[in-house]
């Protein structure tokens, strides 16, 4: 478990980084927190000829509200989200999700952008990105572009980013206070990758009915999945435990689940409903008591 040899550069600014990326292309890898990349190199599953360390790049470590969006710099560490980074449901959702990512020391180094670029199907931030229709911004010498999360995640560990592109920022919608959010996952041990996870966001109107719903499952297939059919089924309904249970029970059947040594397909299919129901329940907990029928 000693990595293969590589060249190392630590560009001082984005222009230099982009130049190096253009020069080395698929031979190069960006080093962010190193929490996925370095183990993979030590296992020799990856052997980039050139490592381009992004940690000296200025300006990528900020979280800021901008209009109705929250802009998260690619180098913002996981640990930054333990305290809500924004008022309201979005900050709450990120804070509820972050403790499930690995262990505290890893959260001190691992980055938001690194998680998305790595595109592990079991990554919590990837699920959140899909749940909330994040925009992912990428820079290269060819220009700047933003891609919606849905188009960004292609398959397991595969994204839309080209080898010469640097992921710079992720933008999430600052949800209004009429949104109610929840996250739940089941893993075998604290800090393990989940066997299944779910995120839920429900917008509740004045009349107590659901006006919009976002539901997503992670860690069950090659990429996080939005459950649009179930979302549509919730619209206009009065939220309550029975409804949530019914909706969640349908989740497993909608998904082509993967299997591995920790979860067979049959088990994982059942887990889909369990985690989704629990995420939905958590979302409803922030409703005034009398509103939850």
């Amino acid at each position: 478990m000693k990595c293969a040899a590589f060249d190392y550069h630590r560009p001082a600014d984005t222009a230099e980084m982009l130049a190096r990326l253009a020069e080395h292309g698929p031979e190069a890898r960006v080093l962010a927190g190193g929490q996925s990349l370095v183990p993979a190199m030590n296992f020799r599953l990856l052997r980039p000829a050139v490592l381009l360390d992004a940690n000296a790049l200025p300006g990528l470590d900020r979280v800021q509200a901008d209009g109705d969006r929250l802009r998260i710099g690619a180098l913002v560490r996981h640990a930054a989200f333990h305290l809500p980074v924004a008022d309201g449901p979005l900050g709450r959702l990120l804070a509820r999700t972050v403790p499930y990512i690995a262990h505290y020391p890893i959260r001190q180094r691992g980055t938001f952008g690194g998680s998305l670029a790595h595109a592990d199907p079991a990554a919590e931030w990837c699920l959140i990105a899909v749940l909330l229709d994040a925009e992912v911004e990428m820079h290269s010498q060819r220009g700047v572009r933003s891609v919606p999360a849905d188009g960004f995640f292609r398959a397991s560990f595969t994204t839309d980013a080209a080898p010469d592109e640097l992921l710079t920022e992720v933008r999430l919608p600052l949800l209004g206070n009429d949104w109610h959010v929840g996250f739940y996952e089941f893993a075998r041990r604290a800090g393990d990758y989940a066997l299944a996870m779910a995120g839920a966001a429900l917008q509740i109107g004045r009349d107590g009915r659901i006006t919009a719903a976002r539901l997503a499952l992670g860690s069950v297939a090659g990429r996080p999945l939005r459950l649009t059919t179930l979302e549509a089924g919730l619209r206009g309904e009065l939220p309550g435990p029975d409804l949530l249970r019914e909706v969640a029970a349908g989740a497993g059947a909608l998904v082509e689940v993967s299997d591995d040594i920790h979860a067979s397909a049959a088990y994982r299919r059942d887990l889909c409903g369990v985690v989704l129901e629990r995420a939905l329940r958590q979302a409803l907990q922030s409703l005034p008591q009398d509103a939850a029928a």
Partner: protein
């Protein structure tokens, strides 16, 4: 002075806690080469040409070896439990003709650096004609391919029997059968294995990285390399955990020695974690079928057991140890008038298996205690009542089982099993625990309590030796042939010496694991060190004290009986005159020293009770251990804090084996749990605080201290207790029949029950979350 029995802080801790630990990987020697092992990528195949040309030409590479380069070196032999017929299944140092498991060493690269060695290892190409591997030993005996006719895949069976089993079954009120399976898991020490061989003047060699059994390994390496053992020295540094698997003689240990001698340079090998999980001994992996004949009152009349040990691809140093111990220790604490156990040793194409903390006992205790629960259920009795009824009474101690274990007669030396059960029940408020669990179940939770009993064994002989010497500064140096794998050997031995010599334990320096310092040593395994070396220490210390007093008597002009030894000096009370140990040693011409030798031809048998309370999440099938308690009678606890530490650490491993740890293989024999992301050990977050009750009610009559071993009992009944607790939580007696109880497995069992209609269909999600 009473030092024995005190929870003194460990004398070995200061260097470990201040970053001064010296583990194998810390050692650097000028001119050192790094060895990298090229390992088989497939589970079974005919080994053809190995192309080393490219690798040998890579920068920094000094040599590349295959089996052809070490053709004269024999396979690794058995250290224990040599059973006729096993020889042909020993592991060659490097694969010959066949590869038989993923991870088997096939070639070696020696290079100037560890990176260069690993780069070159990737350039070694093996031509392997793949064959279909054998992964399920339950398929039948199977075959072990060779260049001639294949050998049987079942080289031996172990049978232990007594009493009239046929009569017992013929007269039975009921016959109860259970099947029980324990998965493949093992000890995973924080420090992986490693070895550094340094050639010295005149064909001598020092091997660093020794652990567990340095003297035996010195002799074995000398034998294999055809050398005089006096030219080889083994040296143990700090060791980051052993658990039975580390310190056995493995191919890599011999290979670094052979290479250092042939290449004339120091050679270092440090195992990486991925290697460790497929190269170091696996363990457990047994399946049992038990049949019990019981009478109408629930008394056991006879027990018949058949089991299979999945030995993996070769038989390593332990020979038939695990199978032998399983068959011997299966009866546990119960009176069983007639018994027969047949254990099948079967080979498969997996990493070879050996002993891991509580070998044969974790497994057989799981099977037996599942059986006791099944008997209780069948007869409608309380599980504890059935157990109590069958316990060997204190009045029958010592209790001769009429069989042997590890070649020694199996005679339980002392014990009051019912008393310990009563005490555990009271101390941990078992009644309250059960009532609370029942109340929570009534409220919709799935919470349950499980109890399991066990007998351990410890103090394996035949001998240990301690040499004591007073150094110039008055320090007493104790040299022993045992080893320290982190368990507190230095402190415990120092406490025993301190007790006799009336010294603070810091005045005693314990040397262990150094073959250059003492000619004989059995090492650290089988919970033997405190029993064997501890007793030898007591003998040596008493002799030293007598000698010190005799010399002091001369110096102080007083009869020795009138003198007192204390705090490193001898005092003549009537005059107040004193002489220090250092002065006495100086006066004594050839110094002040002594030897203690202790021999034992029987083991001794500590015993205990495990209690688990678990909560099952019916929806996710996740199991949380809420409480864990162990009551253990160790005869005498020399340092109760260390005994407690042993129990707590072992319990963590037991919980791991019960719920998480498993070496899973793909259908083509690829190990799928080859990193710590997939081989799941419990972390602090999964561990409850383990509650411990240490008892000293049944000292061993076989040594003057009365001590029994404390190293393994924290593990032994963990699988059994957790299984019973899960059954109880789900109100599904007999549900758990295999370990580990992963959520996936539990889900499968519950689904199968549902589809069989055994239980009413239940929604997957519970009412409350």
């Amino acid at each position: 002075m009473t030092v024995i029995g005190k929870p003194l802080p460990r004398i070995e801790d200061p260097p470990l806690l201040t970053g001064q630990g010296r583990f194998l990987a810390d050692l650097q020697v000028p001119g050192m080469l790094h060895m990298r092992v090229v390992r088989a990528p497939v589970a079974l195949g005919r080994l053809g040409e190995i192309d080393t040309v490219d690798a040998a030409a890579m920068p920094g590479v000094v040599a590349v070896w295959t089996a052809a380069d070490i053709a004269t070196l024999p396979p690794v032999d058995f250290r224990m439990t040599r059973i006729a017929g096993l020889e042909a299944y020993r592991q060659p140092l490097l694969a010959r003709d066949f590869v038989r498991y993923v991870g088997e060493p096939v070639a070696l690269v020696f290079a100037d650096g560890a990176h260069a060695a690993e780069d070159a290892a990737e350039a070694v190409f093996c031509d392997i004609d793949e064959m279909a591997p054998r992964l399920d030993p339950a398929d039948g005996p199977g075959a072990f391919p060779t260049t001639d006719e294949p050998l049987s895949g079942e080289p031996a069976t172990v049978t232990k029997a007594y009493g009239d089993l046929d009569a017992a079954f013929a007269g039975a009120h009921a016959v109860i059968e259970v099947e029980a399976r324990v998965g493949r898991h093992s000890g995973v020490p924080l420090e992986t294995r490693g070895a550094l061989a340094v050639p010295g003047e005149g064909e001598t060699l020092v091997l660093h990285g020794a652990a567990k059994v340095p003297h035996y390994n010195r002799d074995a390496i000398a034998r294999m390399l055809g050398r005089d053992p006096a030219t080889i020295q083994l040296s143990e540094g700090h060791v980051g955990g052993g658990f039975g698997i580390r310190g056995e003689l493995y191919p890599e240990d011999v290979l670094v020695c052979a290479a250092a001698l042939r290449l004339g340079r120091p050679v270092k090998w440090v195992e990486d974690r991925r290697e460790h999980l497929m190269a170091a001994n696996h363990a457990r992996d047994q399946r049992y079928r038990l049949r019990a004949a019981v009478d109408g009152d629930g008394f056991l009349r006879g027990l018949e057991a058949e089991f299979i040990t999945d030995q993996g691809a070769y038989i390593r140093t332990h020979g038939g140890t695990v199978t032998d111990l399983s068959a011997a220790m299966l009866p546990g604490p119960y009176l069983i008038p007639a018994y027969r156990a047949t254990g099948h040793i079967r080979l498969t194409n997996k990493t070879p298996a050996g002993t891991y903390r509580a070998p044969g006992r974790f497994e057989s205790t799981f099977a037996r205690e599942r059986l006791m629960d099944a008997i209780a259920r069948r007869l409608g009795h309380d599980p504890l009542a059935v157990r109590r009824r069958n316990l060997i009474p204190a009045a029958s101690m010592p209790h001769d089982r009429g069989i042997d274990a590890l070649g020694t007669p199996l005679v339980y030396d002392s014990g009051d099993y019912a008393d310990l059960l009563d005490r555990a029940e009271a101390h941990f408020d078992l009644g309250g625990l059960r009532a609370e669990a029942a109340a929570r179940r009534a409220a919709g939770e799935a919470v349950g309590v499980g109890v399991a009993l066990f007998v351990e064994k410890s103090g394996l002989g035949p001998r240990d030796v301690v040499h004591l010497r007073v150094l110039d500064d008055g320090t007493v140096e104790a040299v022993t042939g045992v080893a320290s794998i982190g368990q507190g050997v230095e402190t415990v031995l120092a406490q025993i010496a301190a007790e006799e010599l009336d010294l603070p334990i810091t005045g005693i320096r314990v040397v262990h694991g150094q073959t250059a310092r003492i000619g004989y040593g059995m090492g650290a395994f089988a919970s033997r060190v405190t029993v064997m070396a501890g007793t030898a220490m007591q003998i040596a210390a008493r002799t030293l004290r007598d000698r010190a007093l005799a010399v002091a008597a001369e110096m102080l002009q007083s009869p020795p009986e009138a003198l007192c030894l204390g705090g490193g000096t001898v005092i003549r009370p009537d005059s107040g005159a004193t002489v220090s140990l250092a002065q006495i040693a100086a006066h004594a011409g050839d110094g002040l020293f002594s030897e203690g030798v202790f021999d034992a031809d029987h083991m001794n048998y500590p015993y205990g009770v495990h209690i688990a309370r678990v909560r099952v999440d019916r929806a996710t099938c996740g199991v949380t251990v809420e409480r864990y308690a162990v009551a253990y009678d160790v005869g005498r606890a020399v340092n109760p804090m260390l005994v407690e530490g042993q129990i707590v650490g072992a319990a963590a491993q037991g919980i791991g084996g019960a719920l998480m740890e498993e070496f899973v293989y793909s259908p083509d024999g690829q190990p799928l749990a080859a990193s710590l992301a997939d081989y799941l050990m419990p972390s602090a977050a999964e561990m409850p605080a383990v509650e411990v009750l240490i008892r000293e009610d049944a000292p061993s009559p076989q040594n003057p201290l009365g001590v029994k071993g404390a190293g393994e009992g924290g593990l032994t009944a963990a699988g059994a207790a957790i299984a019973a607790a899960i059954d109880d939580a789900l109100a599904r007696p007999g549900l758990v029949r295999a370990l580990p109880v992963s959520p996936d497995r539990l889900h499968r069992w519950l689904q199968a029950d549902r589809s069989r209609g055994d239980v009413p269909m239940r929604r997957c999600a519970p009412k409350t979350i």
